[in-house]
């Protein structure tokens, strides 16, 4: 349902994506893997179009959602109308507010609706957040902050969730927990696109994967297949 065709994106004069194509079907987990600077995050940012300073400019190609082009649609409309949202790299939680306030604020796009059920759902997924509901969120650990960032994204009632490096700065155990939760959300019907440094972990969870290198897609296929491809093993999975 989400289709990216020959997408080119640039920061100023420097082109970061030289025409990539990928697609995401309903109910899938798709992962984009690759080394630093390969253009994984740029691809997600181009999808969402954050406010100007953060975002690359799309210079070519097209992005369609259910066969309708979403180029030129501002990010808040994508969140609101298409139910697609992004957990940005580095979490971007509202540090001054408590966990509960973060979640309440996140239901902003659904004015006036009852949000207790969703908050309960987030607390079911991440029991740690329930314990810390009244705590200021900048006092949370890195892992808890990441949980909050995901929980907050879920509060928008999204059907497609984009995640930018959810494992960044997390201890291995917490990282596994996070991906297990993503898998559970997927079985509940959420479509997930995850950009990841930790290629091994991402491919284990994902249905399909794309490998990016310097702004181009160099390999794609079912995650299982990619995991066992010798050249990918050598380049990204540590032998």
């Amino acid at each position: 349902m989400l289709r990216v065709s020959n997408l080119k994106a640039a920061y100023g004069k420097i082109e970061a994506l030289h025409g990539i194509s990928f697609h995401v079907e309903k109910g899938e987990i798709v992962t984009l893997i690759g080394a630093n600077g390969a253009g994984k995050s740029t691809a997600l940012k181009a999808l969402m179009r954050l406010p100007p300073p953060e975002s690359p400019t799309v210079t070519g190609g097209d992005i369609t959602f259910n066969d309708v082009s979403i180029l030129g649609m501002p990010a808040h409309r994508i969140v609101h109308d298409l139910k697609m949202t992004l957990v940005p790299e580095g979490r971007h939680i509202f540090g001054n507010l408590t966990v509960m306030e973060n979640l309440q604020l996140a239901s902003w796009s659904r004015k006036g609706e009852d949000t207790d059920k969703e908050i309960q759902h987030v607390f079911d997924l991440f029991p740690r957040l329930a314990e810390r509901a009244k705590q200021r969120s900048d006092t949370l650990s890195g892992g808890e902050q990441q949980m909050l960032a995901v929980g907050r994204a879920l509060m928008t009632k999204c059907t497609v969730l984009l995640l930018d490096e959810p494992s960044m700065g997390l201890a291995p155990l917490i990282m596994y927990d996070m991906f297990r939760t993503l898998k559970r959300l997927n079985t509940e019907g959420l479509t997930i696109v995850v950009v990841e440094q930790n290629a091994h972990l991402a491919l284990k969870v994902a249905d399909r994967g794309y490998v990016l290198d310097t702004g181009k897609i160099v390999a794609e296929g079912p995650a299982e297949e990619l995991l066992h491809k010798p050249e990918i093993k050598a380049a990204y999975l540590g032998g």
């Binding site: 406010p51 808040h76 969140v79 971007h92 509202f94 001054n96 604020l105 239901s107 902003w108």
Partner: protein, 358 residues
């Protein structure tokens, strides 16, 4: 009932104040200072919306006050008084007490539009860049005013107080004080209602993290522009009241120094706190006024113990040494201001029983 105690108390206080002024129990100077406090409250609260709640940094808010003051003055003169500029009054002067809100609203709308004009291009940027743009906007507005000779240019514009006098001729009341108090109440209510609404939540989200705000579906651009317009509109309200109180609008009264006063009040009170900023506006105005007496006393004292040479006298210019010094000390020892992002009810939870700030 109990929850409205503070509101009732405040209304009663306002009525008593008006009553005292009406009975002539208040000295002219005291009345002047009280009105000034009210105007400063409105100005500081309006700036607080941008610098406190929204977390952006507007340095040129006096520019919008200037727009409000000027439009208000012109409207007032055109509507209610015979003048060489606009000819005879549109309404007979006894209409003044009833139609004066037109002047206030006109001034607020114009100031809000000026805010929109500044906001549209400048909200593509953030932080320091926005601060620089707002300084520039402040200078541009003053410069425009300075160069329109028909309304006095650098000599300033006067005559609008006749409207207030016309009200007093019709019904003898301390009108200036009444309008200022009404202005303060309106300002507090507008900001309070705005910040507890869904839009206000969007403003807090933008303040905290713009990327995250956008990701939860907040139209950050619209929220920011709207908050900026409300803020500049309220600054315009402060301006129009100031113009009628001083009876003389001079572009110099709205320069960067005035903007700085606003910043001092907001940071003194604590960003994003209505009660804090109100306290700060009162404290700051009283401090500035008290320096009028303290500086000569200091001057005499220093002369009598021989610390100052006979030929040099401390004058009122030194106020602008003491006030920035206060800002420096504040930033060093209590950077969060009086209340720091919290309302009085958060600092003293027991007050909650007595107050609804809605």
């Amino acid at each position: 009932m109990q929850r409205y105690a503070i509101n009732i108390l405040l209304c009663a206080a306002a009525l008593i104040l008006v009553g005292l002024a009406h009975a002539g129990k208040l000295d002219g100077y005291v009345l002047h200072v009280i009105t000034l406090i009210g105007i400063n409250c409105i100005f500081a609260l309006s700036l607080n919306l941008v610098n406190g709640y929204m977390g952006e940094f507007s340095c040129g808010h006096a520019g919008f006050m200037c727009v409000g003051a000027l439009t208000g003055a012109l409207l007032s003169v055109a509507l209610f008084t015979d003048s060489t500029l606009f000819g005879t009054a549109i309404f007979a002067s006894h209409w003044a007490p009833f139609l004066f809100p037109l002047v206030l609203i006109g001034a607020m709308i114009t100031a809000a539009l000026a805010g929109l004009i500044v906001a549209l291009p400048s909200f593509k940027t953030r932080d320091d860049y926005l601060a620089i743009i707002t300084i520039a906007a402040n200078l541009i507005i003053i410069s425009i005013f300075n160069n329109i000779d028909a309304i006095g240019g650098p000599r300033g514009f006067l005559g609008q107080q006749q409207t207030i006098n016309a009200m007093s001729n019709f019904i003898k009341l301390p009108w200036m004080l009444i309008w200022t108090l009404i202005g303060v109440f309106i300002c507090v209510i507008v900001i309070r209602r705005l910040m507890t609404s869904t839009y206000g939540k969007g403003v807090s989200a933008v303040c905290q993290n713009e990327v995250a705000a956008e990701m939860m579906g907040v139209n950050t651009n619209r929220v920011k522009i709207m908050a900026f317009m409300v803020s500049s509109g309220l600054a315009g309200l402060a301006g129009v009241l100031y113009a009628h109180h001083i009876d003389y609008v001079n572009p110099k009264s709205f320069d960067l120094l005035k903007s700085t006063e606003g910043l001092v009040m907001v940071y003194l009170g604590g960003m994003g706190s209505i009660t804090g900023v109100l306290m700060a506006a009162v404290a700051f105005t009283l401090l500035v006024e008290s320096l009028r007496f303290i500086i000569p006393m200091l001057n005499n004292g220093l002369h009598s113990i021989g610390l100052l040479p006979e030929s040099y006298h401390l004058d009122q210019k030194w106020a602008w040494v003491f006030i920035p010094l206060m800002l420096i000390l504040l930033m060093r020892f209590r950077p969060e201001g009086f209340l720091g992002n919290r309302e009085l009810t958060h600092v003293f939870p027991r007050l909650k029983r007595w107050i609804t700030l809605k």
